[in-house]
Structures are given as structure tokens and as C-alpha cells.
Amino acid sequence: MIPGETILEVRGLTKRFGGLIAVNDLSFDVREHEVMGVIGPNGSGKSTTINLISGALRATSGSVSLEGHDLTAVRPHETARLGISRTFQLVRILPALSVLENAVAGAVFGHKRRWGRKADVFATDLLERVGLADKVAVPVSALTYIDQKRLELARALAGEPEVLLLDEWLAGLNPSELQVGIDLISSLRAEGRTVILVEHVMDAIRSLCDRCVVMNSGKKIAEGTPAEVLSDPHVIEAYLGDA
């Protein structure tokens, strides 16, 4: 799908932890229907960026705005209601809830605020969408790793986000699961969803992203199509290695 208008704007975003600058003057735009990759070495500030956008952390300076709404000083629940959903680096399932309830959780408090039967139907559809239709009755503790990831994705989608943040969603999957995962994200892309994807898996970056931001030590060192950034000498030096 052809990328549309700019939907998310990040401007001069900076986050300090004590003396450490985790994110340093970061700016980029995400356009509607676009899959934006954020890559970089461990500790380069990718996850901090996701946390700043989702409101889990508050920026030291700079701004994030979604369709003109300033998200910089907004708490996570408000961010969620304004249309940003996320998954977590280490998968976070609600262990005492059923599979269906896990998915419903995303639908109830998001900006559509579905409830009761409506929410159940909606969540059931999404579970089917991510391939969990036959696992609805399974206790969440018995789900495999990939199924937990699917469930988390269903929960995030249930919020009907304007922008979906996937924080290393593919990490830890074995090669066969990886293909399933990539296909799933690719189908989201085909639906025209706007996604920010933090990843280490280069295959996924290449096949899924419209554009990429490369970070190192909190700074953006490159931005462009995957092909462009992956051949950028700075990126090779700082991230891919020249050995």
C-alpha cells in the first residue's frame, strides 16, 4: 500500500538516565500505512525510543506527536486511548486471564471502548486473524512461545491502533517460527497498518520495512530504505561490523 500522510512525528527526542543519555536528539516521521524499522546495536536506545513513544517513559526533552496530538507528556493509558498499541520485548501475557480475555483486554479500554458481547466477538475475530482460533480454550500457561507472541499481538491489535509498536516481536523465534512471524507481520502490512518495528532480524527488516531508522549510542546514524541503510558505510561500521 502506498504510504500516506505523516501520522507520527518524533522531534528532538532525548532521554537521560542520570548521566547516561539513552536517546539523543532523535527525529523521524512515520507515514500512514508504512512499516518503519528501527535497528541498531543492543543498548543503542531502540527500546527506550519505543518506551518514550508509548508513554512508559517520559522524555527529558523533545516531542512525539500523533496526528497532531502531543504525546510527550501523556501517560501510557492515554497514549493507548489516542491510538498507540504495543507489544513488549519480553512477551507479557496476563497469566490469570483466559486467551480470549487476554485479547479482550486490548479492546475494552482502547479508543473504541468495546464491552461485553461486542468486545468478545471482536477479540475472537482477531484471535482468528493471528492464528489462535483453535487455542481459545487452552490455558495461557500452556501456550507455546510463538502462540504467546501471537496472543500479545492480538491484544495490541484489539486496541485498533493508529500506530502499532512491535518491540523485538520476532526475537527468540526459531527459524521455522520466524517465517510464520514474518508472514504474519507482512499480512498486517498488506492490510495497510502503520507499524514501527524494532528488530535484529535482518531478513525481516529487508522484507517488511518500507523505511528504516538506524540508531547507535542513542543517535540516529542513518535513515532510508532497508537497501540504502544496510549498505551505508557508517551502519556497516557501527552496527553490522566490518570484520
Partner: protein, 238 residues
Amino acid sequence: MLEVQDISVSYGLHEALHGVSITVDRGEIVVILGANGAGKSSLLRAIAGMSDGKVRGAASLNAQALIGQKPDKVVETGLALVPEGRGIFGTLSVGENLTLGAYPARARAAEKDNLAKVLELFPKLKDRRAQIVRTMSGGEQQMVAIGRAIMSSPDILLLDEPSLGLSPILCQELFRNLAKIRDTGMGVLLVEQNARQSLAIADRGYLIENGHITGAGSARDLANDPAVQKAYLGATSY
């Protein structure tokens, strides 16, 4: 010599590690490569007596059994672990961290020598003795963590993803230092995702996938293996 025989680790119903056997000798660097969740950390924690799960199998160092021992006993047999996230005492000073490293009885006699060794390896720490560790940068904290492990006079040093969160330059420095540590006669067992750099300094390596050892060999052979190249050197991030 560290000998790990047929170790399995399970957390509840989930088995994270199935019958893994490895050996590490003094004076060599052995690297274990594997994806996230493959069971690498489970292996190290099981050997060091810090597993939260149920551990079966055997491991021994210098003919002393390790499995079933608490971490403090394991340290006394001559094994030191630098865990993921470093496991340092963040609110204590560099000096205190190093002194605590020499807490095991086996390390007391050689405390001075070990300290000299650490400061030679990491000259930066020399004038930072009074600094509180958590105010230091990631790379410096990693030095403290490794330095503290060396203070316990280990025969074998275990490191869980030491390059995590380090800038490429610091990574290079780290791996150079590991090579130096090997040259002092210590054995180093390294769990890494940074295959390229770790294979460059390692003597031998194992591949671990879904809790199984799926390959083993000399570092050079592994680096040249096309499957390894695809899985760890090309297709993934590094």
C-alpha cells in the same frame, strides 16, 4: 577442567535445556552461540548453582561436583560467573566490588596479585576505585564485573552475553581483554550473540538451538561453516 554432562533444565512443564554436554579447559575460550531463548543463559546459571528451574545431569570442575551446590560453594571450587546484566553491586564503589570479589576463601591469599592483574587488564579502574559503580558507563561496569570475577581466582570464567549493550569499539576492547585473560591460563566460557567477534577470539565453539547442542567444533571451522554463516553471521543482525 569444567565438564558438563547431559544437563537438562526445566521450569515447570517447560524444558529449556535438553541433555547438554560441554567441556572447557583452562587456557581456552569456548563460545556458545545461539538465538534468544535457546537455553544459553539457563546452561550458565545451572552450572553456577543459580538456576530457578529444576536441573538434572552432572557438572564438575577439578573433579568436584557442581550441580546441587549453592552459588557460594561453586565459586569456591573455582568457577566465576558474570551473568547477563552483570550482577554487580551497583550502590557500592569499584573498590568494594573488587574486594568483595576476593571474598571466597580460595581467593584471599592471592588478593593482591589478582588486584594487580585486574588493574593491569583494566587500567581505567585504577583511578576510579572510589566511584559508585552504577554511576559508570556500561562498558566500565562490564570491566568491574569481569574484574570482580577475576578477583575470586577462578579456573574457569563464565560470561553471559558480555557484549550486550556495549558500543562496537567497547566490544572490540572487551574481546581483546578476554583473549588476554585466556592467556593468563584461565578458561573462558562465553555465551554470545555476537558471533563474528566472539569466534574471532575463541578456540572452540558450540551451537545451541531450542535447548539442544546442534553443532560443535573449532572456532575456525565454525566461522567457515556456511550454515553458521547463514544463521549467525549473515541472516541475523550481526
